[in-house]
Structure formats: structure tokens, C-alpha cells
């Protein structure tokens, strides 16, 4: 197990950062989506650009999850589930906490 290595710390930080970024962006965009679609308000100028940007942030989150999964030797199903957590608003925060507990237990 290489959980103490600098390499692992780098992957772990990368994953945590991306989980936070994806979670925050998705949460903000979901609020905006409700604001526009459900409440019938006009789309803000950055609306489309923000969703497009999210489309590129999410793959980075997927990469960070994949790299961490190699280090922690996660099974395939678990890796996919943690990746998919980035598509559910706020779920990446919850997942990140669970992974943090797992990492702490392994250290």
C-alpha cells in the first residue's frame, strides 16, 4: 500500500479538489436550471457557457477518480459509482467524505 507516498497525496488532493469543484458547479447550475426552467426566468448570459464548462470539468473529475481508484485498488463497480456521484447534485461532497474516511482508516 502506497497511501503515504507523495504520489498518493497528490492523487488524493486532486480527487478532493475535483469533487469539491464538480459538486459546487453542479449545485449552482441546478439552482440556475430550476430558476430558468421551473420558474420561467430568462437565461443568464453565462448559462449555456457554464453548462458547457461543466461538461469539461466532469471528465477531469472522472480522471481524478480513476487515478485514485488505481492507488486504492477499488473494484470496478465502486469506481463507476464514485464517478457517477459527480452527476448528482451534492453527491460528490458525500462521496468525498466517505472516501476520506476510507483513506484515514487505511493510513
Amino acid at each position: 500500500m502506497t497511501t503515504n507516498s507523495a504520489d498518493f497525496t497528490k492523487q488524493w488532493k486532486f480527487y478532493r479538489t475535483m469533487a469539491f469543484v464538480v459538486g459546487t458547479v453542479l449545485l449552482v447550475l441546478t439552482v440556475l436550471l430550476i430558476w430558468v426552467r421551473a420558474l420561467g426566468n430568462p437565461e443568464p448570459a453565462f448559462y449555456v457557457a457554464a453548462w458547457t464548462a461543466h461538461g469539461y470539468i466532469f471528465p477531469i473529475y472522472v480522471i481524478s477518480t480513476f487515478l485514485l481508484s488505481i492507488k486504492l485498488k477499488w473494484p470496478f463497480g465502486k469506481t463507476i459509482l464514485i464517478m457517477l456521484a459527480g452527476t448528482v447534485p451534492a453527491m460528490s461532497f458525500i462521496t468525498e467524505r466517505r472516501v476520506a474516511k476510507e483513506v484515514a482508516a487505511r493510513d
Binding site: 426552467r37 472522472v62 480522471i63 480513476f66
Partner: protein, 244 residues
């Protein structure tokens, strides 16, 4: 091991197919509407899909039965659609129109195949006096995109005529976009469509971005596939070594 390869192949093929689909969507086909002839509606507006850009501004004819009681009234409109276009899409522009300012009257026509299409029947300043659309009708008109489409920008923060709005009113599955009737029905003034047909090819940047998005997912799938296959091979080899 076969399962891993099957899954990897399937995921990669899906990513590539989706990338190809987005790439197709990014390219606007040469408009078939350059001719003045009316094109059959089925060829122009596929169900369960976006109205192709090449169909925007196309002349067509539909026949069906009006869905009673599902009228949409769009306020603060004028008959000349192109005047509603925002010349500076980056800003919210307010234009003052010379009277008459009134409503676009939109009714839903149910077609023979069971699908529905929103029809802008005309313009009026007095919607209460406009008789309800009833019975069978044949409407010649021009196809228009949903007004929340990326290339459509209107002035005055107008209430938009969107496919979502038509879908919520239609009793059956609705086509994307809407039809502007050539001749105003009854006392209605004919409406000039907002978007004219485009005669040249155009690349849609958003779809190009989505294409690369799917290619990135494809690369991730490829990396995961390689890693999982390698792990599987390592564990199999280890197991065999232990046995020996």
C-alpha cells in the same frame, strides 16, 4: 476477461458513436429550402429530434385536427417577426414598436400520424374576438425553430414560443419548433416568420465542443479498459504462479 473486453468495447463504441452524432449535428447541411417548393413535413421535421437547421424557414403543408382549448397567446408581439430579432445578442435590447402591438395566436394541430405541431395562426390585437380553432384544417406555412434555440435572440425580454411550451399544451407528442401559417386565419393578420432560411453551411461550436467531450470520455474509457485488463492479467498470473 472476455466480459471486460466486451464492456470496454461497448463503452468505447458508444463514446465514438456519440462523438460522431455530435459532429454531424455541428454541421449544418445545405438548406433544402432554397427552392420555393413546399417540402413534405415528414421530411423536414423528424419526431423525437430537434428541428434540423436545414429545415428552418422551409415551406411546408400540414393537415390535421385542431386541439380545442389549448391556445397559446404570446403578448407584446408585432406581425413582422424579423423586427423582433435582437441585433446585439450579447445585450438585452428594448425596442419600441409602432402600433399595432398585440398577440401571436398559436394553436396546436394534431396530425394524421398522431403527432402535434404548434401553428402560429396569425396576429391580433384582440384575442378575445378570435374564434377558437376547431375541426379539420390544412395549413401551409414556414417552419421555425423553438425560440429558445441558441441562434434565436429576441428583443424586449419577450415571452418565447418554445417547444417545451407547445409540448405542455399538446395532447400528443409534439414536433420541435413551430409552423407559421402563410395566411392569417379569419381576422388574424399573417405573421412574417422570425428566422429566414439559411443557404450556407455553418459550424455549430457548441456541438463541436460536445464532440470533443465524448472523445475525452472515450480516452478515459480506453485508459480504464487497459488498466482493468492489466490488473486482471496480473492477478491471473499471480494465481497461476501460486498454483505452480
Amino acid at each position: 476477461m472476455i466480459g471486460i473486453h466486451f464492456l470496454g468495447f461497448l463503452a468505447l463504441a458508444s463514446c465514438l458513436a456519440l462523438a460522431a452524432w455530435q459532429w454531424d449535428r455541428a454541421h449544418m447541411a445545405q438548406s433544402p429550402t432554397s427552392s420555393q417548393e413546399s417540402v413534405p413535413f415528414e421530411k423536414l421535421s423528424p419526431l423525437r429530434d430537434f428541428l434540423p437547421l436545414s429545415s428552418v424557414g422551409a415551406k411546408t403543408k400540414v393537415s390535421g385536427i385542431w386541439q380545442p382549448g389549448e391556445r397559446i397567446l404570446l403578448p407584446e408581439r408585432i406581425p413582422n417577426g424579423p423586427s423582433l430579432v435582437n441585433p446585439n445578442p450579447d445585450k438585452i435590447v428594448f425596442k419600441e414598436f409602432v402600433a399595432p402591438i398585440g398577440f401571436w395566436v398559436v394553436d396546436i394541430l394534431e396530425l394524421a400520424d398522431g403527432s402535434s405541431v404548434g401553428v402560429v395562426r396569425g396576429f391580433t390585437t384582440d384575442p378575445k374576438s378570435t374564434p377558437a380553432a376547431v375541426g379539420r384544417a390544412e395549413v401551409s406555412g414556414v417552419l421555425q425553430p423553438s425560440e429558445d434555440a441558441p441562434d434565436v435572440h429576441l428583443v424586449n425580454k419577450l415571452q418565447l414560443l418554445t417547444t417545451n411550451m407547445i409540448t405542455s399544451k399538446a395532447k400528443t407528442i409534439a414536433h420541435d419548433g413551430y409552423l407559421v401559417a402563410n395566411a392569417g386565419d379569419g381576422d388574424l393578420t399573417p405573421v412574417v416568420p422570425i428566422v429566414a432560411p439559411s443557404h450556407k453551411s455553418k459550424l455549430h461550436v457548441r456541438n463541436v465542443i460536445y464532440t470533443f467531450n465524448w472523445l475525452i470520455f472515450g480516452l478515459i474509457v480506453l485508459a480504464m479498459w487497459r488498466q482493468i485488463a492489466r490488473d486482471e492479467l496480473e492477478s491471473t498470473t499471480l494465481l497461476e504462479n501460486r498454483r505452480n
